[in-house]
Chain length 69, copies 2
């Protein structure tokens, strides 16, 4: 699986485990909901700045975010 | 410290620990040497695709790359 898909799946996994909706995540991370959806679907070559925003919103550090990726 | 600087410092740290030059890293990761230098200096909002190239070239996984970041 391509890295963009692996990261997207991992973000979705943590988000769902935490019981957070895409809407909530987009609000907390200050990113568009459609952007979050496309990241989770592996369609974005996400940057480190946005990865950090998502990690913070999911209350994990970046090392945890990449666990198993 | 900003995330771009933190990631850059971490990449430099692992590269130097492994005794690899920027030139070697740029060759193995198939990225420009000037790009590697600017990433290490915290000047780039690096994407996940390039982070993976650098991690592979440094022989660490992404979770290790972000250890302590």
């Amino acid at each position: 699986m391509e890295i963009k898909s692996k990261v997207g799946s991992r973000i979705r996994e943590i988000r769902e485990k935490n019981g957070i909706s895409q809407k909530d995540l987009s609000y907390t991370a200050d990113l568009d909901r459609s952007y979050i959806a496309s990241v989770e679907n592996g369609q974005r070559n996400i940057s480190i700045v946005n990865l950090e925003k998502i990690a913070k919103a999911l209350k994990v550090n970046l090392s945890e975010l990449f666990q198993g990726v």
